[in-house]
């Protein structure tokens, strides 16, 4: 209980730590097809250009706003990230490191030629290989940097006459003055802060921002957007519900391990409490995203990597109530911790920005139902996979000693796979209905649907083998791990390996090497345990 208190305290203190950019985050900006808070825009921009959410301890909003105010300073700072070595070579950059100043890059004599080559690739409409993807990113980075420091990207004021908002350089009359008051408030806040301390926003700055928002809103209230949604989005940016969720899951996991080790009831109860708190935060975060974007939280890879572990926990908690198998929730907690940490570690692959949808994906009912069901079936398979890992570990340690654990975990694996198979079959068929409804094609051998089917076939083969005893306890555990490779292919591989196209030498982009390593490591694990166990089981059967 004390721990929970400490956690909550840490939570609130992080929220109240105001930095100078904080008031500015509330400004609404029109960007990439929607209205969002400036705070979100700044984070996304810094993430694209610099590859991180903060620059040397300064918040994204502070950094982005000062690009506009003192461009001469920033153009000399190393804020542009180039990760691709080939691109560095092509630009003839010999200095080490991966951060370069915009001035250096704008002045690079080879840049024009390289961008021209990218343009040639585009006219031929070829898929871009990792090098050209890096060039395209650099083009975006420089274009965005330029658009921010000239102010044209900062479209802060709705125009009643057209759909496009007015950017900072186009402001006139009272809006221009209102913006100048913000700039003045911002500069004054910095100069009035004691040297060496983090500058704090002044009351004047806050007032200037409030005044600007009120004026901009009065110009076109219906275009300015839903104030609650903007506030909620900022809250989501600052609150990090998924981070707190995994912290809770980690504590829950440790409690559960302790409970199993020492048989402590208190630890077990504490584990459940933290698990439920984590689950509530997890749910809250997804609900927030759903509310802000107005669609179910499964429309990109990032969202599914959050949604699937939620399902894993849900199934684990239900099955644990039914089967009284303590291993379920601890395995699920590990899966959830892993996935949620992953979303923070790989921001370029798991892009968390809320992009507008393609037209055909806007029919939310069928789309959401079939995607929700298919991905939740992946959750059931993920649970079986995690249990399979654990069971193989028991086999490796001592098959006889852990016979009871092995037996109940195998039962849970079987049950999870059954749930997964029913849901996946249903989801694939609903996907067919959606495709028929939207395109007039029940089944079109689209790679995504085909791989979902292949995964289903894999598990069906496993269940059929179980039926005739070709596969027993060990085979079930090993099978749940091997078949999960098919789910990974359907979930991730179709987008990142096949989607990137075989021509783009997909490896090396989007973390393919890590995912491949993960899959290969598990296959090796299965092979190793089988190899170790085979002679043993021979002896036993004699």
């Amino acid at each position: 209980m004390k721990l929970l208190g400490v956690l909550l305290l840490a939570l609130f203190s992080s929220v109240s730590l105001a930095d100078i950019g904080r008031p500015l985050e509330n400004l609404a900006i029109q960007d990439a097809g929607r209205v969002k808070p400036l705070g979100t825009f700044a984070q996304e921009s810094l993430q694209l250009i610099y590859g991180k959410k903060t620059f040397e301890g300064k918040s994204a909003t502070e950094v982005v706003f000062t690009w506009l105010l003192i461009p001469d300073h920033w153009i000399k700072q190393p804020v542009v990230e180039i990760r691709h070595h080939g691109l560095k070579e092509a630009l003839n950059i010999t200095s080490p490191g991966k951060y370069f100043s915009p001035e250096e890059l704008f002045g690079n004599p080879r840049l024009g030629l390289i961008l021209q080559e990218l343009q040639n690739q585009r006219t031929r409409q070829e898929k871009l290989n990792p090098y050209y993807q890096a060039v395209a990113r650099l083009e975006n980075q420089l274009a965005l940097f330029r658009a921010i420091f000239t102010g044209v990207a900062l479209r802060l004021v709705p125009d009643p006459a057209t759909d496009t908002w007015k950017a900072v350089p186009d402001l006139d009359g009272p809006m221009r003055e209102a913006f100048q008051r913000i700039s003045k408030g911002f500069v004054d806040s910095i100069s009035n802060s004691p040297v060496g301390s983090k500058p704090k926003p002044s009351a004047e700055l806050q007032a200037a921002v409030d005044d600007f928002i009120a004026q901009a809103r009065s110009l076109a209230p219906e275009k300015y957007g839903d104030n609650t949604k903007l506030k909620m989005e900022l809250h989501l940016n600052h609150f990090h519900p998924f981070k707190w969720a995994w912290v809770c899951y980690l504590i829950a996991f440790l409690c559960m391990v302790a409970a199993m080790g020492w048989g402590s009831r208190a630890a077990d109860r504490g584990g459940w409490i933290f698990l439920l708190v984590g689950f509530a935060l997890h749910t809250y975060g997804m609900a927030l995203r759903s509310y802000i974007s107005g669609r179910p939280p499964v429309s990109n890879m990032y969202e599914t990597v959050i949604w699937v572990p939620w399902g894993v926990l849900l199934f684990a908690m239900i099955l644990e109530r039914v089967q009284k198998n303590k291993m379920l929730t601890s395995c699920a907690a590990v899966v959830a911790i892993f996935c949620l940490i992953l979303t923070d570690l790989a921001p370029t692959v798991l892009d968390k920005s809320l992009h507008p949808l393609e037209p055909v994906l806007r029919s939310t009912f069928w789309l959401s139902t079939h995607v929700l069901i298919i991905t939740i079936s992946y959750a059931a398979f993920f649970l079986a996979f995690a249990l399979g890992d654990l069971v193989l570990f028991y086999y490796l340690k001592d098959e006889q000693k852990y016979a009871r654990q092995i037996q109940s975990a195998t039962q849970s694996i079987y049950r999870s796979i059954q749930i997964g198979v029913v849901l996946l079959a249903f989801g694939i068929i609903l996907g067919g209905i959606w495709a028929d409804y939207s395109w007039g094609r029940f089944w079109g051998w689209d790679p995504k649907e085909t791989w979902a089917l292949i995964a289903l076939l894999g598990y069906l083969a496993l269940l059929h083998c179980k039926l005739v005893g070709l596969v027993r306890g060990f085979g079930m555990a090993a099978g749940s791990i091997v078949a999960f490779a098919l789910v990974i292919m359907a979930w991730y591989g179709v987008n990142m390996v096949l989607g990137a196209g075989l021509h783009t030498y997909g490896f090396g982009a989007g973390g393919v090497e890590y995912v491949t390593a993960f899959v290969v490591a598990h296959l090796l694990y299965v092979t190793y345990v089988s190899a170790v166990r085979y002679p043993r089981s021979k002896i036993q059967s004699k």
């Binding site: 029109q30 097809g33 037209p359 068929i429 292949i454 096949l498």
Partner: protein, 459 residues
């Protein structure tokens, strides 16, 4: 055990079932890799999903499904789920076969105000029209042309007999880039062409522009400015543009530079290798070449995969001369007393009525050029006015029309609406099959669950 029973036992084996299930998975996986390799779903369909391999495994699956159900006869109550799911799969596969065999899956593309009564499908035909008496054109050859499955080669050409003449198809690229080269020509009937460069610190573009014989003007919109080539002085169009006027017999061109607000910025004369300063953001126009008469030489560069700018092309030999012809581009062959038109193109099927496009609308995501929604207003022959939008198709005379995409002109205005057109007599069979599969698997696992719960409570 009789032979029939032995055969049924063999096919009802669950080990064999597991093998077949995995085999379908493997073939499907090869299909997705094939699609990624060629970047084209159609190639995967032809080479894998509708290949003998796939048909063989699916056929084996149906035999096994039937065999296992016979083997379990007489069915008991606990067989309900198993029987429902397996019958469901058979019905689903029958439905897919009906769709494949009797269904239509094509598209129509039309501009605003136009009508269409034909559907374009993916299958291709080779059609030859002939005019033997110099007047009427008649189709004398019309056959499916599947050059992916049966590629024509120099050793094994496809020969089309045309009375006394012979047309041979000796080569085919499924994916090729059209490469047009412009060369100076001696023929005074050939149209003029220019090669120019637009340059400022941010832009550097070099392009050819050739006057089309049939059209009055040719233009190229390069973003910062539009370049227009014309035989006469043209009025401004409301864009930053450079208009070049060709005058027969002169080695220089007249030029006019218009601003966005349609005002004249500059005019004068320009000769080859001269540069004009347009004054827009330091943009310079340089006339690199001027050819009073130019011919276009087209060749096709084979590609190993599809991109949106590749096309299929076939090599024809007629009377000892070779012709590379792109898909849906007619080839005209003239003899002294007769003429042929050869078309290697997508098959067109009659709708049986005409559909009219009245209007096309598009909504964009705010402040961007990305389409958010788009819809077409069409009228059917009985005078009904219907709006077809994303996810709201029109059903008419057995066909279903879905809004699928659109084409835009250079200024981003939509000009052509593309509908996908579909006729699926297998639809309800597939739905019935799907329903049985889902029902069956729920029953299957629910029964198991009951049994398992009872067992659990007994322990």
């Amino acid at each position: 055990m009789s032979l029939a029973e032995k055969i049924i036992k063999f096919f009802a084996s669950i080990k064999l079932a597991a093998f077949t299930i995995l085999a379908i998975g493997v073939v499907s996986a090869v299909g997705t890799i094939t699609e990624a390799k060629y970047n084209d779903a159609d190639m995967a369909n032809k080479l894998v999903y509708h290949s003998p391999w796939m048909y063989a495994v699916l056929g084996l699956l149906i035999i096994q499904l039937v065999a296992v159900m016979i083997d379990r006869w007489p069915w008991k109550q606990h067989h309900a789920g198993f029987v429902l799911a397996h019958i469901g799969i058979i019905i689903l596969l029958i439905g897919s076969w009906v769709t494949q065999r009797y269904g239509i899956d094509g598209s129509i593309a039309f501009g605003i105000g136009e009508a269409r009564n034909m559907v374009l499908v993916k299958d291709r035909d080779l059609i030859v029209f002939a005019s033997l008496d110099g007047t009427e054109m008649r189709a004398i050859y019309d056959a499916p042309a599947d050059f992916v499955r049966q590629p024509p080669t120099a050793e094994k050409p496809l020969i089309v007999p045309l009375g006394g003449d012979e047309l041979r198809i000796v080569d085919h690229h499924q994916f090729a880039f059209r490469d047009a080269q412009i060369n100076a020509s001696e023929d005074p009937n050939d149209a003029p062409a220019i090669r120019f460069q637009l340059e400022n610190p941010n832009v550097n573009m070099t392009e050819w522009l050739r006057l089309d014989r049939s059209r009055k003007r040719s233009e190229l919109d390069l973003g910062p400015a539009k370049v227009v080539l014309s035989p006469e002085v043209l009025p401004p169009s409301g864009q930053n543009e450079v208009v070049l006027v060709v005058k027969p017999g002169q080695s220089t061109l007249d030029y006019l530079i218009y601003n966005k607000d349609k005002s004249l910025r500059k005019k004068g004369q320009v000769a080859q290798a001269e540069t004009i300063d347009t004054g827009w953001m330091g943009l310079k126009f340089r006339l690199l070449r001027y050819l009073p008469h130019a011919e276009e030489k087209v060749s096709y560069q084979p590609m190993s995969y599809f991109t949106p700018v590749t096309t299929s092309a076939a090599k024809f030999v007629f009377n000892g001369r070779e012709h590379w012809v792109a898909l849906n581009q007619p080839l005209k062959l003239y003899m002294k007393d007769r003429a042929y038109v050869v078309i290697y193109g997508n098959r067109q099927l009659p709708l049986g009525f005409a559909l009219n496009l009245k209007e096309f609308r598009m909504d964009k995501y705010q402040g961007t050029n990305r389409a958010a929604t788009y819809e077409s207003d069409v009228t059917t022959p009985d005078g009904q006015a219907v709006t077809i939008s994303m996810n709201e198709p029109l059903k008419y005379a057995g066909f279903t029309f879905y809004q699928s995409s659109f084409e835009q002109d250079d200024s981003g205005r939509p000009t052509v609406s593309v509908l996908s057109v579909n006729k699926d007599p297998g639809r309800w069979i597939k739905y019935l099959g799907s329903f049985l599969i889902v029902l069956g698997s729920v029953v299957l696992f629910w029964f198991k669950r009951v049994k398992w719960l009872k067992k659990g409570s007994a322990v």
